[in-house]
């Protein structure tokens, strides 16, 4: 038996880098039996990576393992697969469901751990052919559901369940393991209704009473305060605060989540453009983009400004440009320059001098197998008939290779794209340089209005600064209105004039970039669904 004084779980000086990119630095955590720990932080703060280390996910080992020690009951452990972690009594409920839709709750709860009866065939061919003991299964499933303290129908088929019940089935599956000592819940309430979420919090309390420790990851800060014993806030791979829940407030947590040496980061040349003409007005926009649903967004964008759109992942900020540019099903009205823009038609948006740099560089942004020349020139060629030579009175539109090369080389110089030449394939460039190619592609369209989505995602600090500078120059020199969508608030604050925060598929508020970051933090979590 473990000593009463040794904590159930202790993580000491955990460090992890992905190819030189430090994502976790000196993480220390302790967790006692029956304790509930709330873990929060912005996207990319390192929460998921930390949990992956604890759970022995393959991705950690494949990327060179981690430094530091994980101690369970005072003994050092190193899980090389999730199975080891399961055997040691750690359970995890992921954000995505891993249930078999055609099976009942009972079958899912006990999958591959079913109580079995021997029969004649299995005597001969081995225990894979044992018969399932359904009576015993029902009993165990009932006990697990009972432990949870929220009742679900154990005979219902998963595909017929409301989404909240699926979540509870996952939890029941973890609880049905007798050895369970520690349960990790990764944003379990994200898909739940308020009532279900309340029930989940109750069941967390019930588990804690039975001595099961829980790590609870969520963006809903009030839930953390109501159920957790202590709150750990992570930011940029560090633990920035580790305090008992009773001694903190939602305000304080959100401040710690976003605030770094913040006040210096905001740039001096923030302009007040409220007097300028409204160039785009969005009314009651909804977008059906999986994982980034926009519910009801109304927004006015001033001519010549840089507007930032921020918010937590999954709240709908990415849906706004993708919906307006016609890449996902959308509805509502969008007026640009006094004219209505038809939705669901990429071509009509491009014709109206709008341009979009997608957050999905490899999927939407680039022709990976083609040359930089094609990548840069293609949209302008297709939409505006640029870089073409016309023969037979416009009947034949021939590619003007020289014009294409010239424009590509111009942008290679201007944006300092590192490549062997304009004929290099896009897939051979690094992420940062690929991003610059995406920008060049949009610049070549010479738009009046530019959406830039997550322009610095996954690129290094140097490239980041260059990309942001290029955007700023483009805005200042050509007077182009820029709307930049980013998960990194500090990045938005360094370049934008105003920042709109999206939460729960709606605009939670618009603030000047100079406002303190905790105000933005409050908006981010204000309407989280």
């Amino acid at each position: 038996m473990a000593d009463r004084n040794t904590p159930l779980l202790e993580m000491r000086n955990i460090k992890k880098d992905f190819f030189g990119n430090q994502v976790l630095s000196d993480i220390n955590l302790t967790l006692s039996e029956g304790e509930v720990l709330g873990l929060c932080g912005e996207n990319g703060a390192g929460k998921s990576t930390l949990m992956k280390i604890l759970f022995g996910m393959d991705v950690i080992r494949e990327t060179g393992g981690y430094e530091g020690d994980v101690l369970l009951n005072g003994e050092k452990v190193q899980f090389s697969t999730p199975f080891d972690a399961l055997a040691a009594g750690i359970g995890m409920v992921h954000q995505e469901f891993s249930l078999i839709p055609g099976f009942t709750a009972t079958e899912n709860i006990l999958l591959n751990r079913e109580p079995k009866k021997r029969n004649i065939i299995s005597e001969i061919f081995g225990d894979r052919l044992d018969t399932l003991d359904y009576n015993e299964m029902t009993g165990r499933a009932e006990r697990a559901i009972g432990k949870m303290g929220f009742s679900i129908d154990k005979d219902m088929v998963i595909s017929e369940m409301p989404v909240g019940h699926k979540q509870f089935t996952e939890i029941a599956r973890e609880l049905s393991k007798d050895s369970l000592k520690l349960l990790i819940l990764d944003e379990p309430t994200a898909v739940l209704t308020e009532k279900e979420a309340e029930a989940l919090l109750d069941s967390i309390r019930a588990m804690s009473k039975q001595g099961i420790a829980v790590i609870f990851i969520t963006h809903r800060l009030h839930e953390i305060l109501s159920v957790c014993d202590k709150v750990v806030v992570m930011r940029d791979g560090f633990v920035v605060s580790d305090v008992p829940a009773a001694e903190t407030t939602v305000n304080e947590i959100s401040k710690k989540m976003v605030g770094r040496s913040v006040e210096t980061a905001a740039k001096a040349d923030i302009r007040d453009m409220s007097g300028a003409r409204t160039v785009m007005s969005i009314r009651r926009l909804w977008v059906d983009m999986p994982g980034e649903t926009v519910r009801d967004v109304s927004l006015d964008i001033k001519e010549g400004e840089i507007l930032g759109i921020g918010g937590l992942a999954g709240q709908g900020k990415l849906g706004i440009p993708n919906g307006i540019m016609g890449l996902y099903e959308a509805g509502g009205t969008v007026e640009f320059d006094g004219k209505q823009i038809p939705l669901n038609s990429p071509r009509r948006c491009l014709d109206a001098s709008l341009a979009f740099v997608s957050e999905d560089r490899r999927g939407v942004g680039l022709l990976l197998d083609e040359t930089l020349e094609w990548n840069v020139a293609f949209p302008a060629m297709q939409v505006q008939d640029k870089f073409l030579k016309s023969y037979l009175g416009g009947l034949i539109k021939w590619r003007d290779e020289k014009a294409i090369r010239d424009v590509t080389e111009r942008y290679i110089d201007e944006l300092q794209i590192k490549c062997t030449g304009s004929k290099q394939k896009a897939k051979e460039l690094s992420g940062g340089n690929q991003q610059k190619v995406c920008l060049a592609k949009a610049f070549a369209l010479e738009p009046k209005f530019l959406f830039v989505s997550e322009p610095t995602r996954g690129i290094d600090v140097g490239a980041k600064a260059l990309v942001l500078e290029a955007l700023r120059r483009f805005n200042r020199d050509s007077g182009v209105t820029v709307v930049m969508i980013s998960s990194e608030l500090e990045e938005l604050r360094s370049i934008c004039d105003r920042i709109a925060i999206v939460s729960g598929g709606r605009i939670a508020g618009i603030l000047p970039a100079s406002d303190p970051s905790e105000d933005f933090g409050m908006l981010m979590v204000s309407m989280v669904k």
């Binding site: 540019m325 890449l327 990976l368 094609w374 293609f378 949209p379």
Partner: protein, 358 residues
């Protein structure tokens, strides 16, 4: 990267490796094997120039059907296993042209003209179907090809053809399996400017006709529309975001491919001298698919050079292997060896199928 290296410092080995990388080791081996067959031919008593003529002839018959693969590969519809659909359009053109009483070169021209609307309509239906099942094109295409061939097996019997050169002699109705083209368009292209030196004979006209269509394809791929088609194949989402109508481009590529297949079979017939109906189109997609794969094309990248090299290597091996083997073992096994060689090449080619970066 390699471009930045100083070329003069490269050793012979490096250069050789660079060449092998660029040309592809499998193609090099096939080319070497083919060369070996040519060298062996005179020793086993098969005339060298005769064999060269054979290969060039087979090349000229088949090249256009291989060219028909190019547009659909570019638009991302994959390899056109539904080639028989285009071939059927060509066969309809051929039989209707004869039925309507055209003879000589005129019958060839009319066959092309009549085949065109058929290939456009069938191609549009086929394209519509392929747009519904994005991702599973090649499997569906195979069965479109097979089922259209089977359907036409019935139609060849039922359609009211009357021309005595084409229908069965006893019944007076229903088309024969093989129809001679003598007096119609037999060798109509091959005979044009034909070069005959000893046993070497080159069908200049057919080669020129292929060159014309290949140039047309090359030129098309350099236009705005052709560029859009290539982009659709390379990354459909990118193309959509750039305002290109992806479905329309794919449809256009399928129609082009079907039309080229129709022209391809007419050119094949004029060289071969016969129209083959019923089950003949059934097996025509695989050799064309194999040829372009051996030529170095991937599932969504293909060039005119791939077409030429691939057709030459594939047809070369398929014609040379049986001849040389037969002469070596002095037994008539040509059909067996031909089947083994061509199916083996197809099998090999399909293993070479490579996908694009995602």
């Amino acid at each position: 990267m390699n471009e930045t290296l100083d070329k003069t410092n490269l050793t012979l080995g490096d250069r050789l490796r660079g060449f092998v990388d660029a040309f592809g080791l499998p193609r090099l081996i096939i080319a070497a094997f083919l060369l070996m067959l040519y060298i062996a031919a005179p020793f086993v008593g098969a005339g060298f120039w005769m064999q060269i003529s054979n290969t060039i002839n087979r090349f000229s018959w088949n090249a256009i059907m291989v060219l028909a693969m190019v547009p659909m590969i570019h638009s991302g519809c994959g390899l056109n296993f539904g080639l028989p659909l285009g071939i059927i359009s060509g066969l309809l053109g051929a039989t209707l042209s004869i039925e309507l009483g055209f003879t000589g070169p005129m019958s060839f021209l009319m066959a092309i003209l009549i085949a065109t609307p058929f290939s456009v309509v069938l191609g549009m239906g086929y394209g519509w179907l392929l747009n519904k099942i994005k991702g599973g094109e090649m499997m569906i295409a195979t069965y479109v090809g097979f089922s259209s061939v089977s359907f036409m097996c019935m139609m060849w019997l039922l359609l009211p053809y009357h021309s005595p050169t084409m229908v069965w002699g006893y019944a007076g109705k229903g088309l024969r399996t093989t129809i001679s083209l003598e007096g119609f368009y037999d060798k109509v292209l091959a005979g044009f400017l034909q070069i005959n030196i000893g046993t070497l004979s080159i069908p200049t006209g057919t080669l020129l006709f292929f060159a014309l269509l290949a140039f047309g394809m090359w030129a098309f791929l350099h236009t705005k529309t052709g560029t859009a088609m290539t982009a659709v194949g390379s990354n459909p989402t990118f193309a959509k975001a750039a305002g290109v109508n992806v479905d329309k481009m794919r449809m256009l590529s399928v129609v082009l491919s079907t039309w080229l297949a129709a022209i391809g079979i007419l050119v094949y017939e004029q060289g071969f001298g016969f129209i083959q109906l019923y089950m003949a189109p059934f097996y025509m997609a695989l050799p064309a698919v194999s040829a372009i794969l051996i030529g170095g094309a991937s599932v969504n990248k293909a060039s005119i050079a791939n077409v030429i090299i691939g057709t030459f290597l594939f047809q070369g091996i398929v014609t040379m292997t049986p001849t040389v083997m037969n002469n070596m073992i002095h037994m008539d096994m040509s059909e067996v060896i031909r089947v083994v060689a061509s199916q083996g090449m197809i099998l090999y080619a399909l293993t070479r199928k490579t996908e694009a970066t995602k």
